[in-house]
Symmetry: C2
DNA sequence: CGAATACGTAACAGAATCTGTTACAAATAT
DNA sequence: ATATTTGTAACAGATTCTGTTACGTATTCG
């Protein structure tokens, strides 16, 4: 699993915490421990998914496009992995040419994993960005004065 | 996800089908559509996990170390990914130095995903190699005369 | 005993992917 | 106008994955 999901969740939790105030990619990158361009690149996905809205220019930045309670981690996951090869796909190598055992094997494995994947998706769908933000705020260590800094 | 899980399942289903007859890495590789060394490399994991037993020399090959009904896909998955970075770990980048939001974020995400991962593991544990082999045999297309060839 | 077979393992190349970084155009506030 | 900030392309370095070659070791068979 790449870092995209973690970084995207970090970003959105931060935006949920800053309640409407636009946040720049530089601030977000500093908090998430990455590079501003990485944030902006990922932000493109979140924007395409309708999760955030950005504004250019001085004083610009990004805000949530809808309430944090209405953004599930499944939304985040899907947006973060958009355009990427399906993380849950069963990668097999060459399907056998003699018979299509390869294809049958792939279908069988996908069937086996189907329920588990559905459960995982449901679990992600049950958690909102607001919940994550609140849990982060609650567990924020004392020696870090300003939240999400 | 790498191809290891799919190839390992393929191998074990094949071995389950050949009931005690040792199968060479060359035959397995041909069926799985990969290279014999890839099979032998992966077989090292399966052997370490106690799922198969190999014998060198002429007429050698690999057999299941215990009945196929007693090998779950969770066993296969664990063995195939042994020594690899945890597929389900939430990769984050640098934990922030100012405060440990990075660590808290990681723990929070791991907590969120914990149930989903447990469900997925349970689902894999509920399916045996024998079941996979039987489903493959049942779904084997007609124009492929000899099973698993 | 010697040859053929087959595993075990190291080593390496090519491809793909991921992240970080630089660069620069476009948009916007002051 | 100027400073700020996003949007995006392009590229380098690191890592990973698969396929492949090579070679030592074990085992069977004649």
């Amino acid at each position: 699993m790449n870092t995209r999901f973690a970084v995207a969740t970090h970003i959105l939790a931060y935006l949920a915490h800053s309640k409407g105030q636009p946040v720049s990619s530089e601030v977000l990158a500093s908090s998430a421990g990455t590079h501003p361009v990485v944030v902006r690149r990922l932000m493109g996905n979140l924007r395409d998914a309708g999760l955030v809205q950005s504004q250019r220019g001085a004083g610009g930045g990004t805000v949530l496009a809808r309430p944090a309670a209405e953004i599930s981690l499944l939304d985040v996951f899907r947006a973060a992995q958009e355009g990427e090869p399906d993380l849950f796909s069963v990668n097999s190598t060459n399907p056998n040419e003699n018979c299509d055992l390869g294809r049958v094997m792939q279908e069988t494995l996908e069937g086996v994993l189907g329920n588990a994947i559905a459960a995982m998706r449901a679990s992600l769908a049950a958690v909102s960005v607001e919940q994550v933000m609140q849990e982060l705020a609650a567990r924020r260590p004392n020696h870090c004065p300003k939240a999400f800094e």
